[in-house]
């Protein structure tokens, strides 16, 4: 929709745009109300002014929900940092590790990958291709071996050989599978036993095409692994991933990175204003 004057139709379109972005109904209504009030308060009249008010207010709302957390990846200055990836099946965990490993390698860090998805067909080989592409090392065992044992071996090696960053790739699992969630908790425990501060980051990978179920994913993965941040993948498609706003509002989890394709360079730090602008692009242009 396009708009010239800002009337009730405009705010209806705005609400539809938010719902269409998977923000969720309640969140869409709440945001639309706040944006309507703000536009009135600022007395914005022409489309340019309204656009600015909306984008600015949305960023404020995003920041307010933040509980002052850190949007950067938590890396220790001296010693090993462990970054564990969790999430449901097929969202982009392994690919994101491939991208981030290269990022850190380029910064001169010594990077190790742990192939702790020992379950899915071809998962170990997939991570291995990324290790070769990135020119980083990998710890892998046979398919079907205990993932916690892979994690143990990897953290031992990382400490012994002075690696800077260890990425742990885990198998995709649906959050309602209790056994598989327990397995994840066990992997995390192995890390913490070896290094009390580890894992330094637990990144929940969310697929931008996911609808309201992403909120359940965030809740349950957070409960089991104390997630520290989100990677929102597949934003190069037509889906907007608006559910991160509801997740932010309810669980205060920040998005740290976004995935924008399948190539190693298709990864960006999350930029709230760019993201918010993307949500409203079609409405305010």
């Amino acid at each position: 929709a396009n708009f010239r004057s800002v009337d009730e139709d405009f705010f209806e379109d705005l609400e539809d745009t938010l719902i269409e972005s998977d923000v969720g109904f309640d969140m869409a209504v709440k945001l639309t109300d706040e944006l309507r009030d703000e536009v009135k308060l600022q007395n914005a009249k022409d489309s340019e002014a309204v656009k600015n008010v909306i984008v600015k207010k949305m960023i404020d709302i995003y920041d307010e929900a933040g509980n002052g957390e850190n949007n950067n990846i938590n890396l220790v200055n001296d010693g090993l940092s462990v970054i564990m990836f969790v999430g449901v099946n097929g969202v982009g965990k392994t690919t994101t590790i491939g991208k981030m490993a290269k990022l850190y390698k380029n910064q001169g860090k010594k990077v190790l990958l742990a192939a702790a998805d020992t379950f899915r067909a071809g998962a170990i080989q997939q991570l291995n291709v990324w290790a070769q592409r990135d020119g980083v090392d990998i710890v892998k065992k046979e398919e079907g071996s205990d993932p916690a044992a892979v994690v143990y071996e990897a953290v031992q090696k990382a400490q012994k050989d002075n690696y800077d960053v260890l990425f742990v790739d885990t198998a995709g699992r649906l959050q309602n599978k209790v056994n598989l969630m327990n397995e994840l908790a066990k992997m995390k425990k192995v890390l913490t036993r070896e290094i009390p501060e580890a894992p330094h980051e637990v990144l929940l990978t969310l697929d931008a095409t996911t609808g309201q179920n992403a909120l359940n994913q965030a809740k349950l993965f957070k409960e089991v692994t104390n997630v520290t941040g989100i990677v929102l993948t597949k934003l190069d498609g037509t889906a907007k991933g608006g559910i991160i706003l509801a997740i932010r509002n309810e669980l205060h989890l920040p998005v740290k990175y976004v995935g924008l394709g399948e190539k190693v360079t298709d990864l960006s730090k999350f930029n709230p204003s760019e993201y918010v602008y993307g949500l409203f692009k079609d409405l305010v242009n």
Binding site: Q125, Q126, D207, G211
Partner: protein
């Protein structure tokens, strides 16, 4: 589940209705609002919801259901019936070619479950029809996609045709089909790389494969957790390929799966199978009535 089902929603919305005898326009509006919310929370696309609720409203208005003893139950029944009807036939079998092989092509977004579903289908055919399927590895892009399909093939004891990654998918398909002919395979399953429906180059690749292979079945594989975007994706793939059916994966999760309704509405193509787990046996035929209840949280 985090969300309220339609039954509870309507019970609540209609509490005030009881004993009034007559239903006002505003009661009806309130009821439709609850239906709309329940469907949106289940991830049914909002334009599809709008259309659907309009139909329900007409039926509810015409049928004086609101004057019965338990109006909420009656409305739920209507919604459930309409939803089941919209979602189409049950148990639509795979298309089959008159002479072998029957060719099945998988298509869909990245990570939807194409490779896994190809294996599940091959196993199903093997078990149920004593079939001798061949799977063709036509994903040259995703790291270790071929390894994945080969491991799946090994698990279910179905051969995989592959030529590595330095050759065009169309050429792999050509050679794979030639081999299937030679070996008298009765089914061929073509595993293709995940792609965005807006990626013209890769969509053209699928069109070329389709033009050559003339598949009897083009299955769009869709993740059941998909949100509002299911409409755009399904439309994109259907416009490009004129798909013949849909497989909804990852229904073993706790998603409501409203995407099923959206996809059905925009493509009018049958949902043939549902994926219910990562195991090779976790593939079932689609039941519209079960899906309707699930979407409504019943």
């Amino acid at each position: 589940m985090a969300f309220e089902g339609l039954t509870e929603r309507l019970q609540k919305a209609m509490r005030s209705l009881r004993g009034k005898g007559k239903v006002s326009e505003s009661d009806l509006r309130e009821t439709m609002r609850e239906i709309r919310l329940a469907l949106l929370e289940a991830d049914v696309n909002f334009t599809v919801v709008r259309k659907f609720v309009k139909n329900i409203r007409e039926r509810a208005k015409g049928a004086d259901v609101l004057e019965g003893l338990n109006p909420a139950q009656q409305i739920v029944k209507i919604v459930n019936e309409e939803l089941t009807k919209t979602m189409g036939e049950t148990d639509v079998p795979l298309n089959k070619s008159e002479k072998i092989p029957t060719i099945i092509m998988m298509a869909g977004l990245q990570g939807a479950g194409k490779t896994t579903t190809a294996g599940k289908l091959a196993l199903k055919l093997k078990k149920e029809e004593n079939a001798r399927p061949l799977m063709i590895a036509a994903d040259i892009y995703r790291p270790a996609a071929i390894d994945q399909l080969e491991q799946v093939g090994k698990q279910i004891e179905v051969p995989v045709f592959q030529m590595g990654t330095d050759i065009e998918p169309l050429d792999i398909v050509k050679a794979g089909l030639a081999q299937a002919k030679e070996n008298h395979n009765d089914y061929v399953l073509i595993d293709t790389a995940g792609r965005l429906q807006i990626d013209e180059k890769l969509m053209d690749e699928l069109k070329d494969i389709k033009a050559y292979a003339k598949p009897d079945e083009i299955l769009l594989v869709v993740d059941a957790m998909t949100g509002q975007n299911a409409v755009e994706t399904a439309e994109g793939f259907n416009d490009a390929l004129d798909i013949t059916g849909v497989v909804l994966t990852k229904l073993d999760g706790d998603t409501r799966g409203g995407a099923a309704l959206s996809i059905r509405d925009v493509t009018n193509k049958p949902i043939k199978f549902v994926g219910q787990g990562e195991k090779m046996t976790a593939l079932d035929v689609f039941h519209p009535d079960r899906m309707a209840s699930r979407i409504l949280g019943m």
